[in-house]
Amino acid sequence: MNKRIDPISLEITWNSLKSVADECFITLMRSAFSTNIKERHDHSTAITDSKGKLIAQAENALPIHLASMGGLIQHILDEYIDNINEGDIFIANDPHVAGGTHLPDINMAMPVFNKGELIAFVANIVHHADVGGAAVGSMSGGLNEIYKEGLRIPLIRLYKKGEIVHDIFRFLLLNMRLSDERKGDINAQIAACRLGVSRINDLIKKHGVMYIQTVFNEILSRSKKRMQIAISRLPDGDYSFTDFMDDDGLNTKDIKIAVKIIKKGKTILFDFSETDSQVEGNFNLTFNATQSSVCYSLKALLDPELPNNSGIFDAINIEIPKGSFLNCLAPASVALRANTCQRVVDVVFGAFINVLPEKVTGAANGANTSAVFSGVNPLNGNRYVYLETLGGGMGGRYTKDGKDGVQVNITNTSNLPIEAIEMEYPLRVEEYSLVENSGGAGKHRGGLGIRRTIRPIGHKCEFSGVGERFRHSPWGVFGGKPGKPGKFYLKDKKGKITNLSSKSSGIYTTENHAIIMETPGAGGYGKPKDRKKEDVLEDKNSEKFSQNYIKKYY
């Protein structure tokens, strides 16, 4: 097992493993039914070793899924160790007992055996458009326990020794809306598992078990070492940062997220002990979600090309007390976790402000702003539900301004064409633009937020929105000014404005009111007085900033 492999063969075999993960990713995408996978690619695939260590992830896998797949295998090993068989397929989604991060993400894994010996697992994860619960989409705000958020699937077997367990499948499907689509997507996950297992078997046949196992170990130790080298280049010391989330949509306001980073030699500890306890509203994170966010941040700051595998986790220590907002216990609700993940990234970036001044950015829009419009389409009498997620500002950077109107950090989902929205739903989009003056001033200014104005046509429409950084503005760094907070409001035909809360639900409007969503901008980098003249001129000429704003800050 300790036989060394030359660095050329290792690179080539590693490439083959990534290729297997890629092929599983594409197969899943192609055979899935739902738009969420086909168009938005809200899925990931991976290979782990027999101990559940993540070895390779598909090129386009998502940061938020990073820790969940390994988490699932850990549970398989803990609960089933003597009872894992060739042809088994495990399925789970529960954040509290099965390694998940929120219920719509259904995890699946299949073991790879060679002559009776467990060699590896092939795993994948898919964001399903619905897993039951109180509201369509299983993502609505204001739910105070996980039971309301959808069906909890503990770690169970959907296949036993190659035979499907029909009872389980029927039980799952009955509890989800649009069960045909769910069935199609779950079948796609199964197909991806099987393909992965057969490809790994091919590699074992070609190279032998010993070789493959050695490659696994080499990948982990080299990635860990690569991360450790990046870490050891940081100066030793303690770095802290604190930020507050607006609220949980129920009773808790100003939720504190605090990190203390203790860096010594090649070790690094992220201590979140000072963070608030878990909340009633569904913004809590499980440990895996926090771990994914921390890894994302560190990778983005230190080594964006670092391959995604457990080697990264192994180089990082994270400490969070149980019951914390970032390490919640059952029955905490978690559906809107992505907003909190975004804030964890901001906080980690914040802690590194003085350590990595060339890498950190001003705080980004810090949210995963989402909106749901629903009602009955007056043209055909059918009920409709339209969900969208909106980007915002990206923080100012060392060398340049933050990008305007874009998805940041942990998320990168696209918008839906306006012409598609209007053909599909009784809604009219009246404006899609950048919010003037929303990027914080600075040597390099923060990016602008997005404004979207939507008017229901000929019917009564229900609006629910989830936003963050409506009160706690995205901060600037090194003297950069904060970006403008986000805002939801209604506007009647005379221009009268009614403000809505950042977690709005059950707001009914008609054609008389337009619903306006403004996402937060982002914080600037460096002092406004150091901004180049031509950049200030461009701020003015582009009409992204008003005369008054420019006069005030530059």
Binding site: E23, K38, N412
Partner: protein
Amino acid sequence: MTWIIGVDVGGTFTDFCARNNTNGQTIIHKRPSTPHDPSLAILLGLKELKLKFVSDKKRIARLAHGTTVATNSLLQRKGGNLALITTKGFRDLIEIGRQVRPSIYDLQIDSPSPLIKRRNRLEIDERIDFEGNVIKNISSHGINNLEKKLKKLINIDGIAICLLFSFINPTHEIKLKKALSLRFPHLPISISSEVQPEFREFERFSTTAINAYLQPEVGKYMENLKKGITTNEPNLELNIFQSSGGLTTIERASDFPVRMALSGPAAGVVGASETALSSSFKDIITLDMGGTSTDVCLIQKGKAELANMRDISGFRIRLPMIDINTVGAGGGSIAHLGKDGLLKVGPVSAGAVPGPACYGLGGSKPTVSDANIVLGRLPENLVGGEMKLNKSKAYKAISPIARKLKLSVEETALGIIGIVNSNMTRAIRSVSVERGHDPRHFSLMPFGGAGGLHAIDIANELSIKNILIPNSPGILCAEGLILSNLQESFVKTCRTPIDSNLRSVQKAISELRIKAKNWFANEGKGKGNKSLLLFIDMRYVGQNYELSINVGNTLTKSNLPNKIVLKNLFFEAHKRSYGHFDPLAAIEIVNIRLRAISELDCRPSNISNNKKSPKPFKITQVWFDNKKAKSTKVFERSSLPSGFSLKGPAIIVQEDATTLLPPNCSLKVDKKLNLVLRT
């Protein structure tokens, strides 16, 4: 005697392929490009070429031209200073795009900034709804205001007009275009309902903006070219090659330069598929390996598939284009040690300047070409002896890495080749699987200078049995040009449930057929067959993507196939693309497309077969494994007659390409003088 000429202008060379249309004689010619004015190399080359014609009349009937002018203008951002006019409330739409960023982890990588500055993006108060009803009219006051604002903008040299729902009701765009062309007669105006009248506003706007951006430069180039050529050859028919795989007139190319964005590589694919067909290979994967990147395209049943969307250096274009994928690995890709201590190749490339170390142009970084020369696979004399490669510089470039890896220089070179091949294999596998194909069922066709050096290893990795190497792999683009036909695409969005009355679809087809008939009468006047292919884009209700389905030739009759036939075709396509279909779910029609093809005549190349049995012109030492170099025979490609076969190891050299035949592989020269290699 009449000649047909294909001219492919690349960054370094301008390639010519001339075919005598009476006896099939083929002449090829290569000369350095003239990047400051690419038409210069064409005109000079034509003169040089005519001296090679074995004919006293030397009449050139037509010239087909593939150009990178549009591509380069976009890549180097040398296009026009534009104004954009759009619906009130949406001037940022083209900047926000799909609100995604190109790299998830790298905080420094952004999408390119928009081609049109924000201050130059003007709004007009107007609105059309999703059914084409006018919600808000354009007022003359609004147009006057627009005029005032346009006059205030500095040095505008083009206008793009992009309004919401113009693909259903173009009247507002047309009205604005008319009004503004009266007021600004010298400015070219692109409107989205003409450039690509299809739904999805960002893609349509972006395509239109790129078109307007390219118009000043491409228009100027086309004008120069036309002037230069008609002075010398007044009766010559000049056609330009489009990314969609067909030719168009120079006038249309000037109006719609965005259609030329992939002109160069697409011609290679036409050349490849025709060559493969002539050797009875129908399903092939092309591998066009250049200096910095490699283009891969899947050809099935002799036809390359068209993709309807593509990003070119971060700019989105929605138009039919030959489905070519670019892999960031080529002969100039640089080998280096990664942060994990492993050997990596690319994505950084030494490019043409300074190029690989062995070029002796000042490059010192080890590249794939350096590895090939160290292993004895690449002869030291390249491009007809004009350029000599320096083996010792290649050694010197690779040895620092070899020392760090504690390997010999040859072992390291083998590693570099192994890794670049594994990168390409991974990319080809992804591309094939994504399109629902198993690469094992294809043959591999390498072209470009270095393709033949890597083909066998890549084919082995993909379990591909046969490799076809065309007679002139370096000139395939120019050859593809003379074999191309005139082609024009028409599209209309017409969203209709398939189970409803399809009268509106039928009406849309009739409208498009009238346009197509006009095109045949005025532009598509080839002497050969004509066809008018009808494609229907369909999807399940609720899906966000369509499948474009060919439902047959509609040249003589305009009848839409019945619903059962349409549905079955859709099911079949859905199964092929996504692995399943649902016979009961509701289906809708989204777009109607017509592709008009007017075939031009071109004789097949006559093969002058050399009867002598070939002899190797030298024996060289080539490394195939890390044990020792093997004595390997080197043949001139032109000396190999059809029917000749050979067992590896061997190297086959020709002016613009090198083919490596490892031990235990075999080679046969077929009737068309193409090489068939077997793994």
